[in-house]
């Protein structure tokens, strides 16, 4: 039975994947048995294949969390690596169910491109990286007049770069690449003096350079880059699931529910924890969302809470060592604010 099922999926996957009712992404996803998630081709800390070819990163873990919410199993997700250019078409055409690819939330994308952003999984800002060994005197982006700057095309970064240099009346030569890897390689080969992208990205990219120690990230942050998962417009139920998965991760951190203690927490006397974990009598929160009532339990079991995802992938538990900063919970002076699950 299982074999034939896989067979049918196999045959369909190579050819045309057709599904009857496309308006309801949740039904589609349940029917095919996994979530198709669009991620970056290679960005350390956010989404990159490890040595064994397994996808890892913050964006990747978010998709796992959604899969856990839907199926109770964080492994029921497949990843489609996308370049900046094909990411929106992939989502619009239904090739992927969620776009979780360090994508900046802007009004243009929300309206003209037909996306819905479910939240901000990482508050970022655009910065610059230079080779301090080759350019010892430079310690501010304002000194970059006349520099060649590597940037990825079709990103908000490219637009901010133009605005920033124009606003400060500086000259520069843009060197534009389609893919992150190409821009990395060109910067590493000395084609550009500076590399610009989201600061988190710069930390990740720095690690992949030939001699990471030579490169420094300049202090200026020239833009707001709220990065978050996006879904197609016109499917509110699916949008809600993705959005509340994000809030569930935040609430779990706020309430101290972790991967390790989630089972004990079910017995907690705290009514809020009980409600979030769906062990309250007559709980309807999960089923109203179209999921099971233990959806938050499944999410936390699969990936841990937001803080755990952050620390494992980009924070202290990772080579990137990025501090929480504005990505801390609102209770700790950051911007991450979990809307109440009630």
């Amino acid at each position: 039975m299982k074999n034939t099922m896989i067979g049918i999926i196999g045959a369909a996957a190579f050819g045309v994947m057709a599904s009857a009712a496309s308006a309801a992404t949740l039904d589609d996803v349940k029917a095919k048995g996994f979530i198709q998630c669009g991620v970056n081709t290679a960005l350390a800390g956010f989404s990159a294949p490890d040595d064994k070819g397994e996808w890892t990163g913050l964006d990747v873990d978010f998709c796992r969390a959604v899969a856990a919410a839907v199926f109770g199993d964080g492994t029921k997700v497949k990843f489609t690596p996308l370049s900046a250019k094909d990411r929106f078409t992939a989502l619009q055409s239904g090739e992927i169910d969620i776009l979780s690819r360090n994508t900046t939330w802007t009004i243009n994308r929300d309206t003209a491109l037909g996306l819905n952003f479910a939240g901000v999984t990482y508050f970022d800002g655009q910065g610059f990286m230079i080779n301090a060994k080759k350019l010892p005197g430079v310690n501010s982006a304002l000194q970059l007049s006349g520099a060649s700057v590597c940037v990825q095309s079709g990103t908000t970064t490219e637009l901010n770069l133009a605005d920033y240099f124009k606003a400060n009346n500086l000259e520069y030569n843009p060197v534009v690449f389609e893919k992150v890897e190409e821009a990395n390689a060109a910067y590493d080969a000395g084609r550009c003096d500076a590399y610009t992208t989201d600061q988190s990205g710069l930390y990740g990219i720095r690690l992949t350079l030939a001699s990471p120690g030579d490169h420094v990230v300049l202090p200026e942050i020239i833009s707001k880059e709220p990065l978050g998962p996006a879904v197609r417009q016109g499917d509110d139920q699916w949008f809600d699931i993705v959005k509340w998965t994000y809030f569930a991760l935040l609430n779990a951190e706020e309430l101290g529910i972790t991967k390790a203690n989630v089972e004990e927490m079910k017995n907690s006397p705290n009514p809020e924890i009980k409600r979030v974990l769906g062990v309250e009598a007559e709980s309807k929160i999960g089923t109203d969302l179209g999921l099971t009532n233990d959806w938050v339990v499944n999410i936390v079991k699969a990936t841990g809470n937001y803080g755990e995802i952050f620390e494992n992938n980009v924070g202290s538990g990772s080579p990137l060592k990025i501090s929480r900063g504005i990505n801390a919970l609102w209770t700790k002076g950051g911007l991450q604010y979990g809307v109440p699950i009630r």
């Binding site: 491109l113 095309s153 079709g154 124009k166 534009v176 389609e178």
Partner: protein, 396 residues
């Protein structure tokens, strides 16, 4: 005829309808067209539905929007405040520039190698053969990457530039050379050039007429050269030498001033030229071999020296064989210039892709691509056909 007609008429009506090729052909065409219309309708319907669902507006209005991004090579005035339409225009000119530069170089290189393949000299023949067989059998994209990543990327940083003569430099940011800055009165030079060319043309006509009537030859080449060089020089002197050179100087990051040819352009240009030259060499070889041996023997019998025979007898005839396939190589080169996107040279395709990403106007962008590339193809074919007609055998 009449008999046939009668016999036709006697056939049973049913059979004649079913087996009449005309009826069948019309029926088949109608079915085909109906299928096509149904298919197009289905596609259009789906597209409209999809665009409506994802809230994407249609139409070419977006071309008037502010582009917001910068472009590294801008042959025409452009800044991030310009419109998307202007950005596409920049891409178009970049495509044209690299295509024309590539075509010129590939033709020269291809002719040299093609003639080399037929050389009496065994060594030259072999070198030319190795060149052709190497480049013909490697994908052009790979050649581009080889130049970009394998050769140009290992050039030194700007502060350790390789110094070349005439104030030029070569480094990892490309090739720098002095820029000519023309002052007031520079138009006199252009005017001088126009006058020189006009006079040369006139002299050439007169000389030919004289040779036809009296048999006496006039040194047209040298006179023409003197006229074409002399008049602009005269204009240059009259205007008071209005030229200053802007030499590249070391700046904080890059060399500033002068003219900078970027590595992206250089690799694309070199790769396209080297790759296409291999094909042109084969075309040239086939063209020269296609001229029958009797022609060169006859030329020798008339007492023409080998060089003259090549110029007056062989090449004009070979050109007739060469031009049609040469045209398709030119078209291929132009189309291959779209591979620029792989190394970040801002050609039409690369800029169109960026705009698509910002506006989501996939259909409009593809339509623009199609129109521009098809027009380039048509114009090139048209020009080459005109040239071919001029070169065609003129029989009296």
């Amino acid at each position: 005829m009449a008999v046939q007609h009668v016999s036709r008429a006697q056939e049973p009506a049913k059979a004649s309808l079913l087996y009449d090729p005309k009826v069948r052909s019309i029926f088949f065409q109608v079915v085909l067209l109906l299928l096509l219309i149904a298919g197009v309708w289905w596609i259009v319907d789906n597209t409209i539905e999809n665009l409506r669902r994802s809230n994407i507006s249609t139409g070419f209005d977006f071309l008037r929007g502010r582009a917001g991004f910068d472009i590294s090579d801008t042959p025409i005035q452009y800044s991030s405040d310009s419109t998307y339409g202007r950005a596409i225009l920049v891409g178009f000119w970049n495509t044209i520039i690299v295509a024309v530069a590539g075509i010129v170089t590939a033709t020269i290189l291809g002719f040299i190698i093609g003639v080399g393949r037929l050389s009496r000299n065994w060594l030259l023949r072999k070198i030319a053969m190795v060149y052709v067989e190497t480049f013909r059998n490697i994908p052009p994209l790979l050649v581009i990457f080889f130049w970009y990543l394998g050769v140009l990327a290992v050039l030194p940083a700007p502060r350790d530039s390789i110094v070349l003569p005439f104030g030029s430099y070569l480094n990892s940011r490309g090739f720098y050379f002095p820029r000519f800055l023309w002052g007031d009165g520079a138009w006199l030079i252009v005017a001088g050039l126009v006058v020189g060319i006009g006079l040369t043309w006139f002299v050439a006509r007169r000389a030919k007429a004289r040779q036809m009537t009296t048999g006496q030859r006039f040194p047209v080449f040298w006179t023409g050269l003197a006229l074409i060089v002399g008049f602009p020089l005269l204009g240059f002197a009259l205007a008071g030498f209005p030229l200053t050179l802007d030499f590249p100087k070391a700046g904080t990051f890059n060399l500033t001033g002068g003219f900078n040819v970027k590595p992206e352009f250089l690799s694309l240009y070199l790769a396209l030229s080297f790759y296409t030259a291999a094909f042109i060499a084969e075309i040239v070889r086939a063209g020269i071999l296609g001229v029958s041996k009797g022609q060169s023997e006859a030329a020798a019998a008339l007492g023409l020296r080998p060089g003259t025979a090549l110029r007056l007898v062989i090449i004009p005839q070979a050109l007739r064989i060469i031009i049609p396939p040469l045209t398709s190589q030119y078209l291929n080169l132009t189309k291959n210039s779209s591979l620029a996107v792989a190394i970040g040279y801002p050609d039409l395709y690369a800029i169109g892709g960026t705009i698509l990403n910002q506006t989501g106007q996939a259909i409009e962008i593809v339509v623009i691509f199609m129109i521009i590339y098809l027009s380039i193809s048509l114009v090139t074919s048209f020009f080459m056909n005109w040239f071919n007609a001029r070169m065609a055998l003129k029989e009296r």
